[in-house]
Amino acid sequence: MVSTAVPAGGLIEGSAVLKSHLRRAERTRKLRAVGLVLPLFLFIMVSFIIPIGVMLFQSIYDPDIRTLMPNTAAALDTWDGADLPDETVFAALVQDLAAAQKEKKAALIGRRLNYEMSGLRSELVKSGKAAMTMTAGPYKDQMIAVAPIWGDRATWAVIKRAARTYTPYYYLSSFDFEYTADNDVVAVPEGQAVYKAVFVRTLGISLLVTALTLVLGFPVAYLLATQPPRIANLLLILVLLPFWTSLLVRTTAWVVLLQTQGPINDLLMLTGLVDERVQLIFTRFGTIAAMTHIQLPFTLLPIYSVMKTISPSHMRAARSLGANSFYAFARVYFPQTLPGVAAGCLLTFILCLGYYITPALVGGPTDQLISTYIALFTNSTVNWGMGSALGTILLASTLVLYFVYNRLVGIDRMRLT
């Protein structure tokens, strides 16, 4: 493809021509390579990266109140928050509510305001109906008579805050903070805090499952690595079999196993360990057992692949120098397995943070991890801002951990089987 004919104009000139030819050829080659990658790159951009971007945006974008109550939002811009707003604001409120009621959107306003102050929803529906019938001012007293919430400065503070198009509200809620009527950010009272406990639970269960997979997986990895290849390959199939079956199928299997009228209870009764059948499904125990089972190969396989590369002569040398087998293992063998241990544990930990299906099917209400809440806010309660904020927090933690993983192992070397 590259022209190699040296022109007659001498060697120096010729090599310059050659160089430019080479550069051009290189450029074509590069362009062709980019052209090959481009379709997938654009595809991933549209089908994946933009959606993620939309989610990030949703976590701060909050236009509902500004679009549904445009007059009130504008009138409140100049309100100082010290006292009840004046008549102009109330007039704007009546105008907005009547308009919203006509389009059957008063409930939407109520839903958004309800996030920050429970009970506002029904009051808004009531006020919307009343606003339709009001013909002349002054509106202030009429509205307060319809619903006392309009005489409460806190209600107006909520509306003024919710009228911001971009809000940190969902992030504050995610970390269990709330606003006071004076717009101060304070921690939610002990009894009402939800998400801190969810984060702690997600971290706690992920750590416990990671530790369990390590304790169970390390010995098996060692056994596999020290057996002759023929036996090791046979035993490896036992590890790969669960690894290859889908997560839902394995979760199904655990749902069956853990039934009160199920095989584990059969076994417990048979061995006489318990006198009557115990509740295993919808418990923390069941969740952790199922998650450990599903994650075990993810921890085990990286450890195994590192152990395979450790020469057995290291141990023999240590033994012949007088170390007993435990000392030799602890000082010579174990340190060499650490890269595999780190890779396996980190991978399992990252995957555990995002668990959704297994806790949803095997766990009880108090065993749900952060993903369950993300799904709940999106599909059931339709609080997209909250779902997105929690999602962004999970995404950020995952990416930080993957960055560490990449430094340790290299994402390119991620093993599939």
């Binding site: 990658v37 971007g53 010995p219 056994l223 839902l248 599909n379």
Partner: protein, 275 residues
């Protein structure tokens, strides 16, 4: 790992304990998967052993139910389309990425691999928002689009792996002999990387076939897939029909992934890599 003759009694005891622990872990790994298979042949709607009798009634129910059959049809349509799309896009991209001196390779690679790094709940959430504005929610094309995004990283990874150690002088030789780029691809490159491409295709298929979370977010009752149907089955009332479905899925995964493993070995042999 036979114990040497000079092992101390403590070492011998430890050795036995170690073996016992390993056997227990193997039981823990395998039994939960395998136990649903006999239970799917139970003649009664229980999950207790010993089983009162053996019957095929749950399979009968599975294959006779319109819901399950519709779900299988949806899953198959989606998974086959995803396999085709993901394999073509992924293979092309892997070929481009494997060229020496690709600009910004690491950055591009991390974007292409991102769908399997980001927790699926988050992808599902973003897709739910964005596909909603595009009117793709509850449609088969929407699910295909989403699943293809989740499946392409596997194709990129397997084909890139096959291409490491690929002898690029072969393609140069082919073009030097006058073959056009397309001919070079189909006659020289593709036969050599075929095991990787097929593995990637199978991974893409199984990714879509098994995927549940995105489907939970963006599918409607009409676009219900097999995992979605299983999920609601487990939620409402766990019946042995689900164990029949699970058994079929287990057999399918075993078949597919055995093929992948055989292909991987063949590819290593083709490229002269000794395991």
């Amino acid at each position: 790992m036979a114990l040497p003759a000079y092992a101390t009694p403590l070492e011998r005891k430890w050795h036995v304990a170690f073996r016992v622990l390993c056997v227990l872990v193997f039981i823990f790994l395998v039994i939960p998967v395998l136990i649903v298979i006999p239970l799917s042949f139970n003649s009664e709607a229980f999950f207790t052993f010993p089983m009162p009798g053996v019957s095929l009634r749950w399979y009968d129910e599975f294959f006779g139910s319109e819901r399950w059959m519709d779900a299988i049809k949806n899953s198959a349509t989606i998974a086959i389309s995803v396999t085709f799309l993901a394999t073509s896009l992924g293979t092309l991209a892997a070929l481009g990425l494997s060229r020496a001196g690709f600009p910004g390779r690491a950055a591009v690679m991390s974007i292409l691999i991102a769908p399997i790094i980001v927790p699926v709940v988050i992808s599902a959430l973003g897709m739910y928002f964005f596909y909603n504005t595009l009117g793709l929610i509850s449609t088969v094309p929407g699910i295909i689009l989403a699943h293809t995004a989740l499946a392409t990283p596997f194709v990129v990874i397997t084909v890139t792996a096959t291409l490491t150690g690929f002898d690029h002088s072969l393609t140069r030789a082919a073009s030097g002999l006058g073959a056009r780029p397309l001919t070079v691809f189909f006659r020289v490159i593709l036969p050599l990387i075929l095991p990787g491409v097929i593995s990637g295709a199978l991974f893409a298929f199984i990714t879509s076939w098994d995927e549940l979370i995105v489907v939970l977010f963006i599918a409607s009752p009409e676009t219900r897939t097999l995992p979605r149907q299983m999920f609601s089955g487990i939620r409402d009332q766990i019946s042995p029909t689900i164990t029949a479905a699970a058994t079929i899925l287990i057999l399918l995964s075993i078949m597919l992934l055995t093929t992948v493993e055989l292909l991987r070995r063949r590819s290593e042999k083709l490229r002269g890599i000794r395991p």
